[in-house]
Amino acid sequence: MGKTILVVDDSASVRQVVSIALKGAGYDVLQGSDGVDALKQLDGRRIHLIISDVNMPNMDGITFVAEAKKLPAYKFTPIIMLTTESQEDRKRQAQVAGAKAWVTKPFQPEQMLAAVSKLIAP
């Protein structure tokens, strides 16, 4: 059984493209449309990696990461933030919250896969 990745983004098309790329590389993928929706999925099931956007309605990515890190089951789960060049300060906040890896938007699926494989193997 492959490893599971949770993809959190308010854009359905981003989630879909990332999912297709990750599934192609042999990962299982869960999706969340914002921080609140994603937190609901952190119900104790095994998740090996979380990929999250920063700017989302209802609950933004930084709050989501901070909340996720509080859950014992996901304390060590690596998190990749999707940031943009113009959001250096947001990147800093995300790192403080516990997301140490990032991919800069807009990105190509290959860049995303490279970042993922630095952190976990399929």
């Binding site: 098309s13 981003v14 999707l82 807009p106």
Partner: protein, 719 residues
Amino acid sequence: MAFDDDEALDTFITEARELLESLEGGLLQLEADPDDVETINAIFRSAHTLKGSSGLFGLDHLVGFAHVMETLLGHVREGTVRVTPELISILLPCADHIHRYVEGVAEGRIEPSAAEVAESEALLARLAPFDSVAEVPAETAAAPSDETPEAAVPRAWNLRLRFGPDCLRNGMDPLALLRYLGSLGTIERITVDDSALPGASDMDPETSYLAFEAELSTEAPKSEIESVFDFVREDSDIRIVPRDQDEFIGRIASMPDRDRLGDVLQESGAVTPGEIDEALRIQRERTRAGGTVPIGQVLIEQGIAPPAVVEAALRRQLRTADSRSSDTQTIRIDAGRLDRLIDLVGELVIAQAGVGVHDRLSEAQSQVTRLIDEVRHSALALRMVPIGLTLRRFERVVRDVCVDLGKEVHLTITGGDAEMDKALVERISDPLTHLVRNSLDHGIESPDDRRRMGKPARGQLRLNAYHDAGSIVIEVSDDGRGLDRDRILAKAVDRGLVPAGAMLTDHEVFDLVFEPGFSTAETVSSLSGRGVGMDVVRRNVAALRGNIEVDSVRGQGATIRIRLPLTLAIIDGFLVEVGSSSFIVPLDRVTECVEFPADDRDHDHMNLRGEVLPFIRLHQLFGLDGEDARRQSVVVVEQSGQRTGLVVDALLGEFQTVIKPLGPLFSELKCVSGSTILGNGDVALILDVGPLITEYADLERTRYATSGYPGRRMAATRC
């Protein structure tokens, strides 16, 4: 196209439509309530998401456009750009533009049409004034490698990896990183350093204790190896050193000149930009702690670069410095700072003049005077730039206009190294363009006409600049048809500028072309027509405290001469007293000073060595209080070859005048060009001699024409 998947693209299009709908709705809502933070956030998010998702599909056109919108909206969110109806009414068509493009994508058209590109450019241009967001859209492709192409040879690297203690807690698995490292090439050898591992009872299972030493053979450049550890770099100690240093040393030796050690090392590929930044940070910390360390030493100490490579780079840097030292050293200075310096020097000149009032004889004082004068000169020299660059721009103008008009003209530029104030250079460019165009349009004849007149088919246009007695003179001369004296005079009489039958010198006639309302569409001379107002040229030149004159021989050409001061900041003035007021006459206008002959007190002209010298009584002209002094003097000033006397009460001598511009309230004042502060704190007005004389002449003319009554007094504000 970056990502081929029809299903995903369908999702994207649906999503984009929804986003645009909410974007449009949000903008309309914002128009009603410009301070609604929630709406601003939502709009920003829409643009942001659009940009992010379109990037995934390789829709670069949309990425670029949405990026500009996003940046602008980001500034709106931060409050640096205000929401105005204008902003909304430009953002709405922007949303429409994206909508149209998205619909195009839905029909299978990924590349924007030419019309769409043009539309987007027009919209971006309208967005630009709101914000400086016209930057290049973010790069969609992977970051370009800064390596030379030859880096594709497999090379051996030694890696020392000490991951931070929090590495595991942060979700970073060293094993995953090492596995990924292996994908770049071959890990020839790897050893684990467990020396930091404590006894089992003290060990925290969540802490990372292990370090690794690896030998990697790969074709990838150093920056790519380094990027493997991007996510852990902050709290880890990662060292990547080439095994074969000779290759880098060789590359450094054959490199073009570089000023900085870091640049040399970086370009050789031995060190990455990130490593340089780190070394600079360490160097700064040490400096703050009180020590100074060369960057090379930091690089060696930190194990970032091997000593032999750093040494090679140092040698290279030294060679660069040697070859540079012979070049002219220039620095670029912010013009504002220069102005401030010149302003301060000006204040110094004023303060020093104040000292002079009290202690005129001190030897030290005269030394200070001399020094200040030198400082003033060198400060002004900082602003001086050669006029050549401005003149050379006309090569293009001449070429283009000649093509348009079907004329052949050869442009000669001389004196391009004559220097003048930068501010003047910029402001004289427009008047010069007028003059050059006029010469080409009307001065120089068509090749056929020229041949008929026995001239070479190719006309000559000459731009010449030279220094003359504290001024700079710029001449525009051509060998065209010249000015038609008779027709100018006839036209002037026709327009009522000159009474019929007036006897005028050539100079006076040619001067008429600078009169307002003289230029007409009808070609009467080489210098008019086309509505290119020569009066505007003269006004521009006068605003720079310069003057303009024409010389011409009919059929042989014309020369227009612009005379300008070298700088606008300080002038040499001549200080005079009238009643209890002080005035400055620009020294370059003063030709001599004579005593006011008692016999001529009732006239308005006097005899100056056998010539008639008209004079102006400043006392009456400005309606000053008090009686005339018993013994008055006449300052003789010259303007456009015409001499006039100014009757004053006392001559106070030369005075270095720092010009303080008049406030906007007085901008209509014609005879006064500025003010200055005297050593004793009083204000003196600086007389603008040219307008003073012409205005006075006009007033006199009106006076004679209307009443004949010699009422000389008039209000200063009229002048």
